[in-house]
């Protein structure tokens, strides 16, 4: 189909070195594989208008979905459907991605074929939460797409006040620093909480992100209500020959490694690297810079942190430590049990649209620990409190 609307402004974004999303929309608008090119054609037109008027033309609204699910579809409508009927409906379907974002070409083609038949032929690989995003279809097509996908083993992801699609770093599949199996844990969490994922029933969203080590390639500490970050106990294993090789190949071990260690626990005499492991906080700097020479300690597990969120509503939070160390091996019952206790607390006290981190801020971290039965530990704080206004409960005082 030739282009329906002239697009002089967004055509500018076909120029330049970086891959162009405008070119991609045009491909979908013209592709003979896509059954209905009107979606992408009218998306081009409406986007051009947004560029001209500097405002969005999407309407906030309309709860749509597939039967039996409360999440997985984001309803979206044009506010000028008469001008752009192809995007009168332009709903997004979130498809739960496989762990580590690995695919066979066969699987990807299968998804493409379904989407070309029922939707715009446009996708996000992937959405910021991790899902495969199928971008733009109409209400009547939602059930057919779901039947086609689910009969081939694909399911929808989360949206709204539900468990959001859990996601993880590449982990043990291709990274030497993974301290636990991020892909398997992600799969198990997703399976365990299918109901909570598809049927929103929380005060607000809840996200899990699994990072295999403190490098945190999945940005879990900033983007997940529960951030599970791999770590270890025991001494960093040093291969002194390889250390000397790095030095020989031009690395300034003193400046780049020893002086940059945040805890000052390393020393280098030009021949041997020493680490005082008692003082190491396992930041990963030295290991990441000398991957051949240094390896993590042998007892592996993870730290669990809770609470991060973007600035809305009361300011940004990063997750903070609630469990300093946990072994993460199937069947992960200890973890699931913890998650359920946290949800109980949230369920009982949380206000509508209050993330779990905000709730803990409002009620107090000590109250949270007490009600969930988690023992306090110095790893949970940067420093103890500065003020003397602390509380005691009945059982702490003599009657």
């Amino acid at each position: 189909m030739p282009q329906k609307h002239p697009t002089p402004l967004i055509d500018e974004l076909e120029k330049g070195a970086f891959p162009s999303f405008v070119k991609e929309i045009k491909r979908a608008a013209e592709s003979s594989n896509v059954q209905d090119n009107n979606y992408a054609q009218d998306l081009l037109g409406q986007l051009e208008l947004s560029y001209k008027e500097k405002k969005t033309h999407w309407k906030h609204g309309g709860i749509v979905g597939v039967r039996g699910y409360g999440s997985g579809v984001i309803g979206r409508y044009s506010d000028i459907p008469d001008q752009f009927p192809g995007v009168a409906h332009f709903h997004t379907i979130r498809v739960n991605q496989p762990g580590g974002f690995f695919y066979t070409t066969e699987a990807l083609r299968e998804i493409c074929d379904i989407w070309d038949k029922y939707g715009s032929g446009l996708t996000n690989m992937h959405g910021s939460t991790g899902d495969i995003i199928l971008l733009g279809t109409k209400t009547d097509n939602l059930e057919p797409v779901f039947a086609e996908l689910s009969s081939r083993g694909w399911d929808l992801g989360g949206s709204g006040s539900a468990v959001r699609t859990p996601s993880c770093c590449v982990g043990p599949a291709r990274c030497e620093w993974a301290c636990y199996d991020t892909l398997e844990l992600t799969y198990q969490i997703t399976q365990r909480f299918q109901d909570e994922l598809h049927r929103p029933m929380f005060p607000y969203k809840f996200k899990f992100k699994m990072a295999g080590c403190a490098v945190d390639c999945i940005a879990s500490i900033a983007r997940a209500d529960m951030s599970i970050i791999g770590t270890w106990k025991g001494n960093i294993q040093i291969d002194q020959d390889e250390v000397r090789n790095y030095a020989k190949n031009g690395m300034d071990i003193q400046a780049e490694i020893v002086d940059m260690c945040p805890t000052g626990c390393m020393s280098w005499d030009g021949n041997e690297l020493k680490i005082n492991d008692e003082d190491c906080n396992r930041c990963m700097h030295c290991i990441a810079k000398m991957t051949k020479a240094l390896r993590q300690g042998e007892e592996k597990g993870a730290t669990i942190l809770l609470g991060s969120k973007a600035p809305i509503v009361t300011g940004a939070l990063m997750s903070w430590v609630i469990v300093p160390f946990i072994k993460l091996e199937p069947p992960y019952e200890e973890l699931f049990d913890l998650v359920e206790r946290i949800w109980e607390f949230w369920d009982e006290h949380g206000k509508n649209r209050e993330r779990v981190g905000e709730l803990i801020e409002r009620m107090g971290f000590p109250v949270f620990l007490k009600e969930t039965g988690i023992e306090p530990h110095p790893a949970m704080v940067k420093e103890p409190r500065r003020d003397p206004f602390f509380f005691w409960s009945e059982e702490d005082v003599e009657k």
Partner: protein, 357 residues
């Protein structure tokens, strides 16, 4: 629609093991080290001595099914039908046979893919939906990514930086994605309060939840009009009320713009993870190429390249030299808006007599 296949519910995603290339499956959890061979190629070596080469290319994230079919074709030819994506929207081709690496790289180059993003460079840009798909967007995310990367692509494909520089774009202050913890991030911002369409509030909105949605308690009921009112001086233009009440549109083409925040990180390497901090409160929304935004991003990046020590992330560099000096070396003006008056404000005031001139 009787010809539709039988739907299934609550099955979850396919198990990842179905999709792993054989070399990954065989060496799962048994990797020993990796080496970065060039901006777009790295090799991971397993305990067993097996190796897997990764070739990384950029995608615009918003891709057509035909784009996916193209990369599938390449993966069929070189990678036995396997490929993966990264969390930052790159595509990765994995090969276990060294002799295939160069031909793969050559074919990707010939076909115009942008190879790179590995090591101390700029990787792809985490971003949100913008005018392509979202109702609260103050600006367009995909467009900003494109114009910024058109200027900075050499830092993806070849040039090295002192450390990784993570870029992100969010089209409104909801900040889907880790914008609030990136080295340099753009955020769409409003400058004016929402307008209340009193006649529509009745039908579209629930008044108590609209009142409750405001983080600064600027909204109160207006019983006479069966609507709400806003205490303008309390409103910080977050648009939260509009998400709850569609009769309170906040978009304002003349005043909506782009802010730049800098110095965040999520990794624990060396220093703790950090939030990004405000560098530029407002730049005009100037599509299709946002020249003012691109110029300011380059200014910040260049000052960082000039001043940072090896391995120092942008936020670590600024903390070493001090924020007062950051404004000096970048030449960015310091304004009233830079001083925090929100939830964690007092933690940010200088409660010491030590600072640099």
């Amino acid at each position: 629609m009787s010809e539709l296949p039988q739907r299934q519910t609550d099955i979850g995603p396919p198990h990842y093991s179905k999709f792993l290339p054989p070399v990954i499956k065989e060496n799962y959890g048994k990797w020993r080290y990796h080496e970065i061979l060039s901006a777009g190629v790295m090799v991971h070596v397993a305990e067993s001595g097996a190796k897997v080469w990764t070739v990384r290319v950029a995608s615009p994230r918003l891709v057509s099914t035909d784009f996916i079919r193209d990369i599938c074709e390449i993966a069929d030819k070189y990678c036995d039908g396997h490929l993966r994506f990264t969390t930052r929207h790159n595509v990765e081709f994995l090969v276990s046979d060294e002799s295939k690496v160069d031909p793969l790289v050559n074919e990707l180059k010939e076909k115009g893919y942008m190879i790179g993003g590995i090591g101390d460079r700029i990787s792809n840009v985490v971003h949100t939906q913008g005018w392509v798909h979202c109702h609260s967007a103050a600006t367009d995310a995909s467009g900003l990514v494109k114009v910024m990367m058109d200027e900075l692509h050499e830092y993806f494909t070849e040039k090295e930086l002192p450390a990784k520089v993570r870029l992100a774009v969010a089209c409104c202050v909801n900040m889907c994605g880790a914008v609030h913890c990136s080295d340099i991030a753009l955020v769409g911002v409003h400058k004016t309060p929402p307008r209340i369409e009193h006649d529509k509030v009745k039908n579209l909105c629930e008044i108590p939840s609209t009142v409750a949605s405001c983080p600064t308690s600027a909204i109160s009921p207006d019983p006479a009009k069966k609507s709400v009112k806003i205490k303008i001086e309390k409103c910080m233009y977050c648009g939260n009320c509009y998400s709850v009440c569609p009769a309170m549109p906040i978009s304002d083409p003349k005043n909506d713009g782009v802010a730049i925040v800098v110095g965040g990180k999520v990794s624990n390497l060396r220093s703790n993870p950090k939030f990004s901090k405000l560098a530029v409160p407002w730049l005009p929304n100037n599509p299709p190429r946002w020249p003012e935004v691109v110029e300011n991003v380059k200014k910040i990046l260049n000052a960082y390249i000039e001043g940072a020590k090896k391995h120092e992330r942008l936020g670590e560099w600024v903390e070493r030299i001090g924020w007062e000096k950051f404004f000096k070396v970048t030449g960015l003006p310091f304004q009233l808006q830079h001083i925090d008056d929100f939830t964690f404000a007092r933690e940010t005031w200088r409660m010491a007599a030590t600072f640099k001139w």
